[in-house]
């Protein structure tokens, strides 16, 4: 997959929306009955994670990461196998759109999407729409905790299944509108 292809895909994330301090742009609401179900589900998930954290402490991260990874492997085993990681990520982004919409990202001063730093090779991923972030913010919980680990596990599991290569995800930054992650390739 060429860089121009990724850039073409990334154009979809560059919209004319203006975020002013005094305004929060609301997307169109889901139907009322669906919204009630969604909020109930988000609350339930938040409480499960909070309880898991209280009982297992830091071990909660391992449990949720494992669950996410299994889910990723399970879902991706039906995908076609691709050797190229960038192409696999593009396919995954397309499949997960709406749940975990993400783009392959690079700083403007960087020439390639595949970055090198201290002997590690990685790709930056920016997660835009994310059901985990929405759940955490609905419940007033901190981002980057055990529920985020399910997402890391999911992406790692899916990438491993598609490419047959080992990978790892690290969190770089979490925000209200997007999160920056590093997909470390081994």
């Amino acid at each position: 997959m060429t860089e121009s292809h990724i850039e073409q895909m990334n154009e979809g994330f560059h919209q004319g929306t203006v975020f002013r301090a005094e305004q929060v742009p609301f997307p169109p609401p889901p139907p009322a009955d669906l919204q009630d179900t969604l909020h109930g589900l988000m609350k339930l998930n938040g409480l499960i994670i909070r309880s898991l954290e209280e009982i297992s402490g830091r071990g909660a991260n391992a449990v949720t990461y494992r669950a996410g990874k299994k889910f990723g492997h399970e879902v991706a085993k039906y995908f076609r196998k691709i050797d190229n990681v960038e192409e696999a990520l593009e396919e995954l982004s397309h499949i997960l759109r709406g749940q975990y919409t993400f783009e392959i990202w690079k700083p403007a001063d960087s020439s390639s999407y595949i970055q090198q730093e201290n002997g590690t090779t990685f790709i930056y991923l920016v997660f835009h729409d994310c059901i985990v972030r929405q759940t955490l913010r609905r419940n007033g919980q901190e981002q980057g905790g055990p529920l985020c680990q399910t997402l890391y596990g999911y992406v790692v599991g899916a990438i491993e299944e598609i490419t047959g290569k080992k990978a790892k995800i690290e969190i770089v930054h979490t925000g209200p509108n997007a999160c920056l992650k590093k997909l470390i390739l081994r």
Binding site: G12, F13, H14, Q15, G16, T17, V18, F19, R20, A21, E22, V24, P25, F26, P27, P29, P30, Q35, L38, H39, M42, G98, T101, W105, P107, A108, D109, V126, H128, D129, C130, R133, Q134, T135, R137, R138, V172, H173, T174, G175, P176, N177, A178, C179, L180
Partner: protein
């Protein structure tokens, strides 16, 4: 590309956006925050949320879905604000 505008009248130069941004988009110059690397902004809007003076404006950001916002509460707040 994302365009960032800082309201010079509102910015109090606290530097929270400078500390928080992982891509070092902002720098403090003459006691004001200046977006010197807007091209490196990935639109997380952390700075937007953290700014105590509400001095930041972002243009060209992909708006992520925000179904967590309780629309009934937002509607009530809208009547007050």
């Amino acid at each position: 590309m994302i365009e960032i505008n800082v309201d010079k009248e509102a910015c109090n130069g606290c530097g929270l956006c400078v500390k928080d941004c992982p891509m070092k988009v902002y720098e403090l110059k003459d006691g004001l925050s200046v977006p010197i690397r807007s091209a490196n902004c990935m639109g997380c809007l952390s700075c937007h949320e953290i700014c105590p003076a509400q001095a930041l404006e972002h243009k060209g950001v992909y708006p992520s879905k925000r179904y967590y916002i309780d629309l009934k509460v937002a509607e009530m707040l809208g009547k007050v604000i």
